[in-house]
Every structure is written in structure tokens, then in C-alpha cells.
Assembly symmetry: none
Homo-oligomer: 221 residues x 2
Amino acid sequence: MVEDEERLAETVRRGLTDAGFVVELVHDGEDALWAATEHSYDVIVLDIMLPKVNGYKVLEQLRGRGVWTPVLMLTAKDGEYDQTDAFDLGADDYLTKPFSFLVLVARLRALIRRGGPERPVVLVAGDLTLDPARRRVERSGEEIALTPREYGLLEFLLRHRGDTVSKMEILESVWDPAFDGDPNVVEVYIRYLRLKLDAPFGRHAIETVRGMGYRLDSDGG
Amino acid sequence: MVEDEERLAETVRRGLTDAGFVVELVHDGEDALWAATEHSYDVIVLDIMLPKVNGYKVLEQLRGRGVWTPVLMLTAKDGEYDQTDAFDLGADDYLTKPFSFLVLVARLRALIRRGGPERPVVLVAGDLTLDPARRRVERSGEEIALTPREYGLLEFLLRHRGDTVSKMEILESVWDPAFDGDPNVVEVYIRYLRLKLDAPFGRHAIETVRGMGYRLDSDGG
DNA sequence: CAGGTCGCTGAGAGGGCGCTGAGAGCCGTT
DNA sequence: AACGGCTCTCAGCGCCCTCTCAGCGACCTG
């Protein structure tokens, strides 16, 4: 683990040890590079903001030296780099500070077990979140109750957020590939979602692309 | 790999082979186009300065032909093109000469690992971009709302950018092969596009070729 | 300069697409 | 059996998109 904030580092270290991990802790980028090159770890937890050499550089260097140990990056929410950068740089997973300790453990176990990335479990678009595991939808932290159909539709839109998806695509994925009813159902359910997701918050996350279909804004409208 | 400097090419080839890659080497843009179109590679290393057809043209042609193999471009430090161009044209990564061999290997591995999911299928002409998947059009980073017809017309022009296309060709492709209405529709829609794409930006991406048809500037006007 | 052709432009009619409210069918629960 | 929730159908409506048309200007030719 590479982390320079002492209190946070010590807390996490103790927690991980209790959870059964053997933890080695270094405090800056230089030590991180040396340790990771010389030793072999199951997984590396790497903070971005570090003394001497930042996390970004550390990762780049490691990959450059052929070190392919799975890396979980810790990113500050308002940092200069964001999650996208983390993935682009070859990180296998990331967490945004502040993070839930239990989530950290889960992600680390996943990385070790698979030897590969576990994509973030929660789908996000702006202040709109959908957690498939808990089947829970929130907007601005407020839970929103959805029927199964509404939920399926929203999940589909979120998984294609930013893309324009046609009514036919939606019907085939959310309804049935052999659905032969009135395609107007989609419009009706889009409306239901808008009534629950947009209207109470004065936003418009779901955009109509006339003649083409619908599009969910990446930034949540 | 596409590289014309023999010594560099041979060095890199040997290194990549040692690192476990199977390498095919061609020396100019023409061979590159042929090889990349006929065969299927995990990743393409493409130099910019090449005999016959330069790297940019090669990339442009490949993307135009629907070849979406990841491409890593090699750019000269003081070259007339820079990295921004590389990304704009649809390169997936780039390295500036001289480059660290280990970094090259790392980047190639990253490109191969990343593989399929997030490939930008974007048509570009200067500062004008069209993303078919997202059905999104931007000029200078600013999104532009188009109706289906306008969008279809612009997509057609972009796919033939640099070429002069006749009104009849346009009618057959964008409208209907059996369209028998007033060909003046094309002029009308060209106008709509100009009003949305050119006028607000003081440019003229769409050129009229009197007696022949229309032409979209490759560099966006 | 006159005449013709081609492209540009503004206005407007028509239709198609998406939105909406109501309600019927189906299911599980009480 | 009655009720409520969910799903889907349907038909009306309003707006945006599409296309037509006619006048005008630009360009070429004699």
C-alpha cells in the first residue's frame, strides 16, 4: 500500500490486516517504485497524491518496467485526475476518497481472485446512481422506487449512457427480442421514468433524439 | 509494425519478438494499408513519416474502411504534426521519438488488454466531429443538434470528405434510391447544415462545386 | 449587355413522430 | 371476491421535421 496520509494509512493497514491481508506500507512514490520492482505482491493499493513521485508516474513506470501486478488507485474526488484517467493509465480498479472500507476489501479480493479488474459496481450519471447488486436507484442521494420494467429500462440506458439508443434496441434488450407489440410502450415507460427521475428534480437526464431514439446524459442532465 | 527506418525497425522488431509478440513488418504506407486491410492484428505500430502514403493517411484510410484495430503512432518530436492530431485522427495511443522500449511494450500490452469495448468510431474533418454510436455532432467541442435528415446528409458528406459528390448521389444514398421528388431538397438541406455548422463559427466546411455537386473540406474549412 | 442556367433563400403546407391521459388485462395480496 | 400495482394498448393532439414552390441572385455564354 502506498499512502502518505498517516492516519488514513494506519487505519486501513490495521483493517486489512484484520481482514487477513499481509500489508506492506510505504509513504512515497520512490519507495513504492523500489518495493514494487523488487518484490512481488498480490495487489498494489496506490494513492495518486504522493510525495516525490505521484501515483500516476509510479503506475506508468511500473508498467514500463513490465510489472503487471494489479493496481487499485485511490483518487481524490476533486482531484486533477479522475477515474477515467486511472483506467487509461492501466489501473485495474479505483476508489474515490472517501471510500467504504468494506468496499475496499471486496475490490481487493476481487482483484486477487480474478487477477483482473472488477469494474465499479454502481452505474453513475451525474447525481443519478443505480446499484445493480442492491437493485437500488438514487438521485441526489434520495432513493427512488421503480417498478421492474422501469428499472430494466433505466439500467439499459445507464449502461449505454452517452449513446443514442433506438426504440428497437431498447425493445430487444429490455423487453423481449421477439417482442411484437406496440413500440409505443417504450415512450410510455420513458415517460414514467421522467416523471420519477426528472420532474421532481427539475432536470432532464433522458433526452429525446427525434427520429432516432433516446439518450441518457453522461452527466445526469 | 510500419516503420521505414531500417535500423530502428529491426531493433524494435527483435525486442518485441523477445517480449513475446509476433511481429509483421512493412516499410511503407501502401503495404501497411494492404496488410492491415487483409489481415487482422491485435495492434498496429504506425510511424508518421513513411514513403508513399504517410501515417496519417494510412490511419484515415483504415478507419474509413472500418478497420478498428488499435493503433499506436510514432511521432517525431519536432514534427509538423503533434500528438493532438494523432488522437483526433483516431489513434489509440502515441509515442514521441525517441522512446523507451519498455514503455512501448507497456503501451502495446495496455492497448491489447483494453481491446474491444471502447473504440471511438468518430468521423472527423478539422474541428468537426460526428460520432455515429452516440449520434452526436460537435464543432469546436460544442454540440450541435441535427434532425435525422440533416444528420444523414452530414454523415454522408463526412464519409466522402474531400470528394465532390453530386446531388443525385446524395439523393440516392441519403434519401431514397427511388426518390422522384424535387432535387432541390438537397440544396435546402445543405443550407440547413450551413446555418447550423458554418454560420455560427464563421467557417465554410461545405463547398459548392457549381455544376457538379458539393464537397466537404477535409480540414473542416 | 442580354439571356439562360444553376444554386440560394424564405415561406408555408402537410404529415409523421413522440407525448400524453385513460383504461383494460393480468397478477399477487388481503 | 375485491383491491391495488404493474404492464401494455390505444387514440387524440401538438409540434417539429420534411419537402415543395416560387422568386431572386450569381455565374457563364454569346
